[in-house]
Amino acid sequence: MHQLLQQIFSGLAAGAIYASLALALVMIYRATDLVNFAQGEMAMFSTYIAWTLVNAGLPFWAAFVLTLAVSFLGGMTIERVLIRPVENAPVLAAVVVTIGLLLIFNALAGWIFTYTLQEFPSPFPDRTMFGALMTTRDLGVIGVTLVMLLLLFAFFRFTATGLAMRAAAQNPESARLCGIPVGRMLAIGWGLAAAIGATAGIMVAPVLFLDPNMMGGVLLYAFAGALLGGITSPVGAVVGGLIVGVTENLVGTYLIASQLKLTVALGLIILVLVFRPNGLFGTAIVRRV
């Protein structure tokens, strides 16, 4: 029982990271009908930036904030410069562009920072709490994720820009008629997604060790989590990510050794999707005839 609770809790911590990345994916999908396959690699690259800053002597949280700012600007720039040319092209072209970005970021990171595994500092002391039920690190990760989610929720709910972004995602033409610069809203969306991804990367790096291939598996689980929750639902992304984290942990501990863990976890998720083809919270894509 104790082990079960332990695994559930550490699964929640992993799930918090999947949830973050899943949220980034959902944000971009709602705005552009596009799954950004490069989200993981962008997050990895941001994490390297944070690592560079920390190595240069900056205190952790200063490096964290600075990295978020840089990632935000980077995400905006990528949308404006690299994604905009294919915004009105067939969806597949945009998908290929994101796959291309994935490769570029991965290769650039390997070239600039080498493929050696690096240690990444954690801001949270590594202690266990509540009778070895959970670690402070896990609690810290969940805490940071929670704060980030609350800030995002407040932003979208209570600010004019947040409202404009929601409108731009729902009905871009109508939003333009209200004077909303939809293009800029898209760019901000990509910027936010990049910042969220950076947070996820920085949280996971102490555990997985920093290397260019760090986020590959994370992206896969995040993608699965986003779909499990419903690709159009931010709440679903968070719930889905958490479920995937716990499932992955439990499968790995009780069912099968690490090699097939991924396959089995994905299989379970797909099984759920068979019964709920639009995810747990997703809305069916309404078709107009």
Partner: protein, 235 residues
């Protein structure tokens, strides 16, 4: 009075096809002009050309500015509030949020303007926290107009506001629009299939057919024209 909106020799294109062949339309400052015509005549296309939503040629003058080659959002920012076909309400947002959206281009807090809208459309005040998608057709039309008015526009463009609505609601809506026009001094460009009602309210009228303006003049004159009466007014 100089017209606040003037189209001169405007052509519009969908892809390679030319669908408007050089039309002239004007709206007086604070006045109301109506575009009449059958389906496919080019009425909605004209409105879309004004808002920069289709490729066009020719001159579009608005309040001393030229609108051609400006983006839709820039044109909205200049004071053109366009309520499109199908209303364009954000069904996933609440009534209140829809109104707030209208105020995006205006500085300052929107609360006073929102209260004014609830004054014109009490039902919106009652339903302010409901999802816009849950509103009836007539209520959504009111919401769409209210949202447009939140922009403090100098020109209000209405594309078939009576579409799919019961006659009683249509009368109510037009009464409110007329009241707003006088009180707020907003010019109105109206596209309507309901010719009788439109010609009663408007100053100027234009009849479009397959992309040409085939008749234009004071609304009263067109209302008395025997051809119009036979084809569009039913008697």
């Amino acid at each position: 009075m100089a017209p606040i909106l003037e189209l001169r020799a405007v052509k519009a294109f969908y892809g390679q096809s030319e669908v408007l062949h050089g039309i002239d339309v004007a709206v007086e400052d604070g006045g109301m002009s109506v575009l009449l015509g059958a389906n496919g005549a080019g009425k909605t296309t004209t409105l879309r050309a004004i808002s920069g939503m289709v490729r066009s040629e020719g001159e579009i003058h608005f309040a001393g500015q030229r609108l051609e080659r400006r983006s839709t959002e820039a044109i909205a920012g200049l004071g053109v509030a366009h309520v499109p076909e199908g209303r364009g309400t954000m069904t996933g947002l609440t009534v209140e949020e829809n109104l707030r959206l209208g105020a995006y281009t205006r500085a300052g807090r929107p609360d006073a303007a929102m209260q004014r809208m609830y004054g014109y459309f009490p039902i919106l005040g009652q339903r302010r926290r409901q999802q816009a998608g849950a509103l009836s057709g007539g209520e959504q039309q009111m919401l769409a107009i209210a949202r447009a008015l939140m922009m403090s526009p100098r020109l209000l463009i209405l594309d078939e506001p009576s579409f799919g609505l019961a006659p009683r609601i249509v009368e109510d809506i037009f009464a409110i629009v007329e009241r707003i026009r006088r009180e707020q001094h907003v010019a109105v460009l109206l596209v309507e299939q309901n010719a009788a009602l439109a010609l009663e309210l408007a100053d100027q009228a234009y009849l479009l057919e397959t992309g040409y303006v085939v008749m234009s003049g004071p609304a009263k004159t067109l209302a008395d024209d025997p051809q119009i009466r036979r084809s569009y007014l039913g008697y």
